[in-house]
Symmetry: C2
Subunit: 527 residues, 2 copies
């Protein structure tokens, strides 16, 4: 009768525990029933208040001008939520982003968020940043070849070259300009636009299938963006597109690939970083109110010990040469198919302490798998932030540690949906992080691949679909501040960054209030 | 420069906090990097162990025989998970139950769970319990009329009557036997089987649409099951089907409707309960190893103050007459369309303290809505369990209170999927409850409407799709024990219940081990 004994022990423990705090759970419950309705309602208000105070951003105090803007923002938020409750099928965060992307652009909240200075993007991959329009424009450059199979129907690689590039398996090279001449630019552009995004598939058979398509885009892009002249331009354009979307700082992951050009120049990883640094300097000269950009070296996790050792050598080399530009280290690629962090502990612990970790971890729904437990290794390795952390709700101990250690969670809602981890954003685990005041930053991961704006779409989803209906401008401001506070910037650089952001924020608040008073003025004149 | 000041305060607070515990977060992180790989791995094991200990059921100690069975169970679980990781599209908990129901029946884990004594079902609605086959058999009884529109294509009501029943809007009455004669029994049965379940729609436009179809099933069933002779038989059959699925106790919600018969007898709510009590007695005589069944009176929440007052009168009356059978009170129906608990505080607080609450709360994905905040009212009203609690991860304060007050969460995974709250079970918030050791009971809500077994399908989903891969027989045993511990049964009755359950459990463990050793024996003979 083991179970009966266990059961008796449980009951005894429970009553001892209750006795310690001076009451049984039943008596607490019942004692509430003795309250007058007025007393109950007071208690209810207190508890609701305590709950609200835990919500991310609720402790921020808004000044009078901000309070005015907040009214405008909350009025439109309330309207979108009320419409959604009446007809949930029209509520955009309940649906797939591919169906709602354009609809969202019409939303008033979206347009407010778009104009808002949102701080920085701390989780994005360097070859998945730019708009499809820009990518297509790149394919009009001279000397670009495309490798196709199935009589031109299936493209698998792009490459700039004076002559026909080296033969590849399973496809034939043609000059893209000739392909355009043959099939018409419109058709070719449409084809490329589809191949360079995950559209139109909203429901892959599973997340492995989504990842496979996803990795194919990177493969197709490689020859296009790793062409040295394009590499610089792509980065400059990314910074520009992000800047225009209200992003003042970009901390991106890079594989730091080896570039090429038409002359057969032998490039090294160092050249790749040098081009980044030079381009950034140019961009900052052109945009003095921009905060900056830093790189996390993040090679593919599907490697072995030798591979990792070679990564570490590259890391040390680029960090030594560009200490201000290189923020830290990470490993990327589908976690399930790569190796878990625990396989590389020995090597990772040899990395010098001035290089911080920003590990991807828990981008999975397999609870208890070794991949899922990357979360434990990431936190124990002293990661400064967690990339994705989708599985964190399954790891209360890690959650507790990351709150105490002040480790931020980089949440990229749209990426999680497109890669099949969540369907309805209202069910995204980030609701829990926001509700319990965890340090969250909102990022966009690979906006290029889903035709989203650099950050506004993800902010919109977080604000309208993931956060509480009560979350207001304070959450938005907190998310912007977090993106500076949890960036890799030094404390001093963060204050400078904040100054730049604050100037734009004040302008934004003034604009919202001015627009509102203009909107209000005709009727005021009528009074 | 408000934000800069706020920011400075935040930074100062963070450093003060860190200083208090004697270190900064950075130094903790970095100090880990100074560990030797061996020391790191020890620490890693300790943290993983601490995490595992928090998981529901992990503290249970299995005896030797149970450990033997556990090996069998974990071998098949591991196999199903490994297959799933290789090809997630074949992993049943990642898909809609309507697509996998039959496939699941072939699973080895499912068949082990099916045979397992699972304790009690604590959340189910009394007219949504029986198999479709049984419902169809009921429609063959004499004097049953069906009201159809669109030339017989659309049924909206059923009723037993000697003559044609009173006319309804929008449909015409025919004798079902005549309809069968006209269209053929097979077609009619197939039609009814579809109308009495939510099949085949896996994706309703939104959860309002799912609820609307769902409520229509109840409406169609009303005239069939509220016929007094059927009422008794339906309940008896439900108990029998649950018993055969390894359920020894059933605590169900009932609207306590007024019944009717062919003679125009005037029934009251008291008669409805009397028939239940008499039927239960009969069932217990026929099945002396069955634990029992109790009723939670749970009328429709879409009402007003007068309605609630009338409910309370009925409640008091039935509780007085049948104190042992009536467990408590709840309100049911789609939370969004009904009234929130806070509207009825004054009335609810008048309910005598010997009547416990078992409130539905948080069966929604609208974070911060008044419906979502039913969770706060439920816990403050002293609810003994929370029905669904799907939104609990958005309410850390409520979660904290319910753990301290030992209030159980009644999780019905399949119901949540069918009613469009979750798509992939691996993303069900119950993962968090299990990971953090909250008191969870697994229930089936309305298994009739999705053709599921009375409890085994939900248990299977919880075990394979929601719990950790590490969760084993200890979780299954804990869930069974919880269903007794958190039932409304008195402490004494719980010990009796446990004795009945333990006998079956020991038999189950013996069977699993015997089967395994039989399976193993041929090859042993060959050695």
């Amino acid at each position: 009768m083991t179970a009966i004994r266990e059961f008796a022990i449980t009951v005894r423990r429970a009553s001892t525990k209750c006795a310690k705090v001076g009451h049984s759970s039943v008596s607490v419950a019942r004692s509430l029933r003795k309250l007058s309705p007025t007393a109950f309602k007071t208690l209810r208000r207190v508890i609701a208040k305590v709950e609200h105070l835990d919500i991310l951003g609720q402790k921020i105090r808004l000044n009078e001008r901000e309070q005015e803007s907040n009214k405008v923002i909350m009025a439109v938020k309330k309207e979108e939520i009320s419409k959604g409750i009446l007809d949930p099928s029209q509520f955009t965060p309940g649906q797939h982003i591919f169906k709602t992307l354009t609809e969202i652009r019409k939303s008033q909240i979206f347009n407010l968020i778009k104009r808002m200075p949102k701080g920085g993007v701390l989780h994005a991959h360097d070859t998945a940043l730019c708009s499809t329009e820009y990518l297509i424009s790149l394919t009009y450059r001279e000397n670009l070849w495309i490798c196709t199979a199935n009589e031109g129907c299936d493209a698998s690689a792009l490459r700039f070259s004076k002559q026909k590039p080296q033969a590849l398996n399973d496809c034939d090279w043609s000059l893209l300009s000739e392909v355009r001449a043959k099939y018409g630019s419109k058709r070719v552009d449409e084809y490329l636009a589809e191949r360079l995004t995950l559209y139109p598939t909203t429901k892959f058979e599973d997340n492995n299938a989504a990842w496979s398509t996803f990795m194919n885009i990177f493969a197709l892009l490689d020859g296009l963006v790793m062409y040295a002249p394009v590499w610089a331009d792509y980065y400059y354009t990314a910074l520009k597109e992000f800047y225009e979307d209200g992003v003042l700082y970009l901390e991106f992951r890079s594989l730091v690939p080896t570039l090429y050009d038409l002359n057969g120049t032998e490039f090294t990883a160092m050249d790749t970083v040098r081009i980044y640094v030079e381009t950034l300097e140019k961009f900052k000269e052109d945009h003095p109110d921009f905060i900056g950009s830093r790189m996390i070296y993040a090679p593919i996790r599907n490697t072995n010990t030798e591979g990792l050792t070679s990564y570490i050598n590259t890391l040390k080399e680029i960090k030594e040469k560009y200490p201000d530009f290189v923020a830290g280290f990470d490993l990327v690629g589908q976690e399930e198919l790569g190796r878990p962090l625990r396989d590389f502990i020995d090597e990772l612990l040899t990395i010098p302490e001035d290089i911080d970790f920003y590990f991807h971890a828990g981008e999975t729904n397999w609870f208890g798998s070794s991949v899922d437990e990357n979360l434990i290794d990431a936190i124990l390795l002293g990661t400064k932030r967690i990339g994705h952390g989708f599985g964190l709700v399954k790891h209360p101990v890690v959650l507790d540690m990351l709150k105490k250690l002040n480790v931020a969670i980089e949440v990229s809602p749209i990426s999680n949906q497109v890669l099949q981890l969540v369907t309805d954003f209202r069910n995204h685990p980030c609701s829990h992080f926001i509700a319990d005041g965890y340090p969250v930053v909102i990022s966009s991961d690979d906006p290029s691949f889903w035709k989203a704006t650099p950050l506004s779409h993800d902010f919109y989803i977080a604000f309208l679909g993931i956060a509480s209906q009560h979350s207001d401008l304070r959450l938005l401001k907190k998310l912007a501040l977090n993106s500076i506070q949890y960036s890799s910037l030094s404390a001093e650089a963060q204050f400078d960054a904040l100054e730049k952001w604050q100037a734009k924020w004040d302008q934004f608040i003034a604009d919202v209030n001015e627009n509102e008073s203009n909107r209000g003025s005709p009727s005021q004149h009528l009074d």
